[in-house]
């Protein structure tokens, strides 16, 4: 799986498709507020989808580590968490840039923005924790436990609290549904780009994670820990 090729090629195809057809596809013109910037949906939103998927994979490997104490699982968990965090960081930066032109300021204190920032900070602490422990077994065990905690902090920060208050994002109080993925709100045209974009960006994240993992496994082998 780590070295298989088909899904890497799939990722290339999907992202080339996203970055070409994403600019050409007809988007609805509702009023003059969003204009063409709704195309950011193919780039900004998949960062968050990708982040959630990658962090979920990281969680799965953290649990696996706690069950078997296999350092390979710790390696997987760390790699997926770091790529997930990268995606979240890109999501927050692209969001701030978009917000600057859409809402008038890069940071307007929107509940989704604040929640995402808190969630990312909680994950930053995961790497602080890792960096502060020298003993590999202790580091793997503690960070696996903390990883589970930080994943579950995504529930209030990203999935619950922002939907209980008014928000500039879609999906706040008074507008039903999922902030990112509201099938009924997105035009059929846009969906033909959006879903491939989510899969493509996520696969790219998985690809980068596997590179991390392979280097780390080589290191472990060299040190005789595997």
């Amino acid at each position: 799986m780590l070295r298989a090729r088909w899904w890497k090629i799939l990722s290339i195809i999907l992202l080339v498709y996203t970055c070409t057809y994403g600019f050409l596809v007809k988007v609805p013109k509702l009023d003059d507020r969003l204009q063409e910037s709704i195309r950011n949906f193919f780039f900004h939103v998949p960062m968050w989808f990708g982040m959630m998927i990658l962090l979920f994979v990281s969680l799965v490997y953290a649990i696996k580590y706690l069950r078997a104490a296999n350092p390979v699982h710790d390696t997987y968990s760390m790699a997926y968490a770091s790529t997930g965090l990268l995606f979240g960081f890109l999501g927050i930066v692209t969001g701030a840039f978009w917000a600057n032109y859409q809402w008038g300021s890069p940071w307007v204190g929107d509940p989704k923005q604040n929640g995402a920032a808190i969630a990312l900070l909680i994950y930053f602490a995961y790497f602080v924790l890792r960096g502060s422990l020298i003993d590999t077994e202790k580091r793997a065990r503690l960070s696996a436990v903390y990883n589970i905690f930080s994943f579950f902090m995504l529930f209030p920060t990203l999935w619950i609290l922002p939907r209980l208050t008014e928000s500039l994002h879609p999906g706040g109080q008074g507008s039903d549904g999922n902030p990112g993925l509201n099938g009924k709100d997105m035009s059929a045209n846009m969906r033909t780009v959006f879903y491939p974009a989510v899969i493509g960006w996520t696969l790219l994240g998985v690809w980068i994670s596997t590179l991390h993992i392979r280097v780390q496994l080589l290191k472990l082998k060299k040190e005789g820990l595997l």
Binding site: R3, V16, C19, F23, L204, L211, L218, K222
Partner: protein, 56 residues
């Protein structure tokens, strides 16, 4: 000089300057994407070589 070049570019009626020059943006994004993919694929290749070395 630059003004001349710019005037020339505006005169051009090729595909890159149609539709508000969106094709130009599309091309640039695609170039960056392809560049990134080439980079990631080359790192992938190097790691594969290391792994093959480690096996021997």
């Amino acid at each position: 000089m630059f003004q001349l070049l710019q005037a020339k570019a505006v005169d051009n009626s090729g595909i890159m300057v149609q539709q508000g020059k969106i094709y130009l943006v599309m091309t640039i994004v695609t170039i960056i994407l392809v560049g990134l993919f080439i980079y990631v694929a080359s790192v992938d290749k190097k790691i594969t070589a290391l792994e093959n070395n480690a096996k021997d």
